[in-house]
């Protein structure tokens, strides 16, 4: 007879046991996930500070252990907001503690990116992490470990350093086990794509064998900071609703609705509560659980709420995205690039914006040979895995009929897609690909179609200009021969002048060339 033991575990313990959920499934993916989590934290910190990020990342091999697995020091430095000293231990060494639990677009939303990395480092090397940070004043340096069972930081050392130069930012220094060699190319793709989507960032990476990779800043322009907003009634679930009810200071349900939700005015609140058959004077504290369920369901059905507010979103914008793509794909004036940002849209009460770009031309042919290369971003995070399972792949390969746009199977093409939302419709906890949420799929199809329409013009004009050139080549080849043989045949001494005829046939070329450069001005 076995005795079943029931026990609760701390969040740290949970992630210790289920680290693959956060992407730390094997030594090579662990390196990738660690870089991704720390780098994204740094980028977010800089953007909040409104300074163009300067980020330095270094992986140093300490010792190699079994097989391909080695121990690395990972060090990342940023020039972001920095953290106040009293926040540092919890921010880095307690799971589910962070500044990202509001309705506002940010890169990570587990709130454990940094912590899980530190946790992973600790369990694979049993070494502490060192966090150095300043918000402009003194520099605080913490050496810490996580008490996994209690989900609490253990401070081993705390030093306060002077800060004469007024440095602001954060440095994370930790040790972890991993396998760099297997993930190298993905990691470089990741950095390149991050640079593409954040052209205002300057990234430096030194890999374990000392190679330096620089992704230079292309502009100082940064996208506007997203605003924190109240939830939209369509996007709320029962649990969140219950929590709001329990903390609200509102005296009536009408006040509660207008106070805690966006897009609900007093008239809308009246109408909505009427449709849900809840009195508008009902006290929130008297709401029973079944009332809450009724209300949440009614909210889904109710059509008269204002559209979700999109100011909480931070699209990259056509201008910045174009800069980033040009920079990282090395496009020249002979290449085609069309970037389109759509207006905000919503699914299940969550606002989202899709942006897409199509690039083709000689530079693309050089790098990617033929066929379509998809580059995906969700809230500015590059998505590198499980491409063919995601909605973007489906849209590009199934929904769009490329031959309508004069694209043949050997046309080299890069399709860049960015979806930003307060809640990206990820299909799995691994957050590597997006589900085919109908509204999102429709917007993606529309945005790619819009840029493809410009592409069609570019391609047909390219075809036309190639044809014009071939035409001119043919005349340039045969007219001199006609001149030569007519001279010989008629016993003349001097060749007749064919220049006027050549000028006549080449007249069409500059006109078409001019048009080809005008293409991207077509409106989305």
């Amino acid at each position: 007879m076995t005795e079943i033991v029931y026990q609760s575990i701390s969040p740290s313990d949970f992630f210790y046991r289920n680290r693959e959920i956060a992407g730390f499934s094997n030594p090579s993916r662990a390196v990738y996930a660690a870089v991704r989590e720390l780098l994204e934290n740094s980028l977010d910190a800089c953007e909040r500070q409104r300074v163009p990020p300067d980020i330095f990342l270094r992986l140093t091999e300490v010792s190699s252990s079994e097989g391909d697995t080695s121990t690395y020091i990972m060090r990342i430095e940023d020039n972001g907001t920095g953290l106040p000293p009293d926040q540092i231990p919890s921010a880095f060494c307690r799971v589910f503690y962070g500044s990202k639990y509001t309705l506002q677009q940010s890169r990570g939303t587990f709130g454990l990116g940094g912590t899980i990395t530190i946790l992973y480092g600790q369990i694979t090397t049993h070494q502490p992490v060192t966090i150095t940070s300043s918000t402009g004043g003194d520099i605080h340096e913490f050496t810490m470990m996580i008490d996994i069972e209690r989900n609490e930081p253990m401070i081993l050392k705390h030093k306060v350093l002077g800060n004469k130069k007024g440095w602001r930012g954060t440095v994370v220094h930790l040790q972890m086990e991993g396998d760099y060699s297997r993930i190298k190319s993905r990691l470089l793709d990741y950095l390149k794509q991050t640079a593409m989507v954040s052209p205002y960032a300057d990234l430096t990476f030194v890999d374990p064998v000392g190679r330096l990779f620089r992704f230079e800043r292309g502009t100082d322009m940064m996208p506007p900071l997203p605003q924190a907003v109240k939830p939209h009634p369509h996007g709320i679930d029962v649990e969140n609703f219950r929590r709001l009810v329990s903390i609200t200071k509102a005296k009536s349900m009408k006040e509660f609705m207008t106070e805690h939700f966006q897009g609900v005015g007093s008239k809308t609140a009246d109408n909505f509560l009427k449709s849900a058959e809840i009195g508008n004077r009902t006290r929130p504290s008297s709401m029973k659980p079944e009332d809450i369920v009724t209300l949440v369901r009614a909210a889904r059905e109710f059509k008269d709420f204002k559209r979700p507010d999109a100011t909480c979103l931070s699209p990259i914008g056509e201008e910045l995205l174009e800069k980033g793509i040009r920079k990282e794909l090395g496009l020249t004036e002979h290449d085609f690039l069309k970037v389109v940002s759509r207006k905000p849209s919503t699914y299940l009460g969550f606002p989202f914006i899709v942006e897409a770009a199509i690039a083709t031309g000689p530079s693309i042919r050089k790098q990617f040979k033929t066929g379509t290369t998809i580059i995906r971003f969700a809230n500015r995070i590059p998505l590198l895995f499980d491409e063919s399972s995601g909605v973007v792949w489906k849209v590009v390969n199934k929904n769009i009929h490329w031959d309508t746009y004069n694209v043949s199977s050997d046309t080299p093409m890069v399709v860049v897609v960015h979806v930003c939302s307060t809640k990206i419709p990820y299909k799995t906890v691994g957050k590597e690909y997006m589900a085919d949420q109908p509204e999102v799929e429709k917007e993606l199809t529309n945005v790619i179609r819009t840029s493809a329409r410009s592409l069609r013009l570019f391609i047909s004009r390219s075809i036309r200009i190639a044809r014009e050139r071939r035409r001119l080549d043919i005349f340039a080849k045969y007219l001199p021969k006609i001149a030569e043989f007519s001279t010989k045949l008629s016993d003349k001494e001097i060749l007749p002048d064919i220049e006027p005829l050549l000028t006549a046939v080449s007249r069409a070329i500059p006109e078409v060339e001019q048009k080809i450069k005008e293409v991207p001005t077509i409106d989305g």
């Binding site: 071939r470 043919i474 045969y478 006609i482 043989f485 003349k492």
Partner: protein, 363 residues
């Protein structure tokens, strides 16, 4: 006489050279006038080929086409056309001849001019014939030699230069003299013969030589190896027009034999742009359907293709005469055909000893 022969040849040569040179000047002027070069010529499409009752041959109608260099599709053929004209002029100037195949290969040596096949170069040469109204033979371009001639005929060579003025009697070679470019361009000097017998097959031609038909019937013998080449047709015409000899044609008794005879008499549609290739007074004397019945020749059944062809030529304007219509009807009615060799069933020399004298007698 020799002088006048040379002068005649020289005159033709000069005329050809002049028209080629004029073509060059025309195009040269067009370029100088900032015009994309072009030339007009009669259309050779089938709806522009008509039968002329008076000339008794096909001729081209009034519709013209323009060959020009104004667009990408046409500039290459136009350049090839001009190159061919230049090549022909060089042949004439240097007193050299060339075959159709040689023209095709000469162009292969020219970058961007080369033809994709001999069909293309042959077509271009035909264009040149139409544009200049000059047969290619005058431009020293000949097809492959085909056919032979035998009999007491004296000729005088005008070509190649090394043979100029040399005389030859055409009984010298019992296999017959090949109807090549030298023979075609020679002067026909004199003959004791009073008729010409044209035979479609070399086997029967050899039989005729062997049995001394040329002596017994005082005839010049020609074999055409099937459809007669343009050279052979020109020689036959000259024997008829210039030397006043009647022409008698023997072919197989089937639609293809009829066609061979008719090509000699009235020419073909593809040569509608040329004159001087037909012999309207030549006579087809066998093998008729009537002969098949009369001599009870061994026969073969007409194939479906034969029947189709017979029905076609029954409506062909060249075959309107009573004789043709009568014989076509007999073949159609019999459903049979007979080759020249069918007479062998009656004895190897029957055709020469019995049939031929009877036929000639009956005319």
């Amino acid at each position: 006489m020799t002088d006048s022969v040379i002068n005649e040849t020289e005159r033709r040569r000069e005329a050809t050279e002049t028209s080629l040179k004029q073509l060059g000047s025309l195009i040269y002027e067009q370029i100088q006038n900032r015009e994309f070069p072009w030339i007009m010529m009669q259309s050779r499409s089938s709806d522009n080929i008509n039968y002329d009752d008076e000339l008794r041959q096909f001729i081209l109608g009034d519709r013209t086409v323009r060959r020009h260099s104004r667009n990408v599709r046409n500039i290459r053929p136009f350049t090839q056309f001009l190159w061919t004209a230049w090549f022909a002029r060089e042949l004439v100037r240097l007193k050299k001849t060339s075959t159709l195949r040689e023209v095709y290969y000469s162009a292969r040596g020219q970058r961007d001019i080369e033809f994709t096949g001999q069909t293309e170069s042959d077509y271009t040469i035909t264009d040149l014939e139409v544009a200049l109204n000059t047969p290619r033979e005058s431009m020293n371009i000949y097809p492959k030699d085909r056919g032979a001639i035998f009999g007491d005929l004296n000729i005088e060579y005008t070509f190649p230069p090394a043979y100029e003025g040399r005389m030859k009697n055409l009984t010298d070679n019992p296999d017959g003299a090949p109807i090549g470019r030298s023979l075609t361009s020679s002067k026909l000097v004199d003959t004791t013969a009073d008729k010409v017998i044209v035979i479609e097959k070399d086997a029967m031609f050899s039989r005729f030589v062997e049995e001394k038909v040329h002596e017994k019937h005082n005839a010049i013998l020609i074999q055409t190896e099937g459809i007669p080449s343009r050279s052979a047709r020109m020689v036959i015409r000259r024997l008829n027009k210039d030397m006043g000899l009647p022409i008698y044609i023997f072919t197989d008794g089937d639609p293809w034999g009829l066609h061979i005879a008719m090509v000699i008499i009235s020419g073909s549609a593809v040569a509608a742009h040329l004159r001087g290739l037909t012999t309207p007074d030549a006579k087809w004397i066998g093998v008729w359907g009537t002969d098949v019945l009369k001599y009870k020749l061994p026969t073969e059944n007409l194939t479906e293709q034969d029947l189709k062809r017979l029905k076609e030529i029954k409506d062909d304007p060249r075959y309107v005469d009573e004789l043709w219509q009568r014989e076509i009807d007999i073949f159609l009615k019999m459903g049979k055909k007979a080759e020249l060799e069918a007479f062998s069933a009656l004895g190897l020399t029957y055709i020469v000893d019995e049939y031929l004298p009877e036929k000639l007698e009956s005319l």
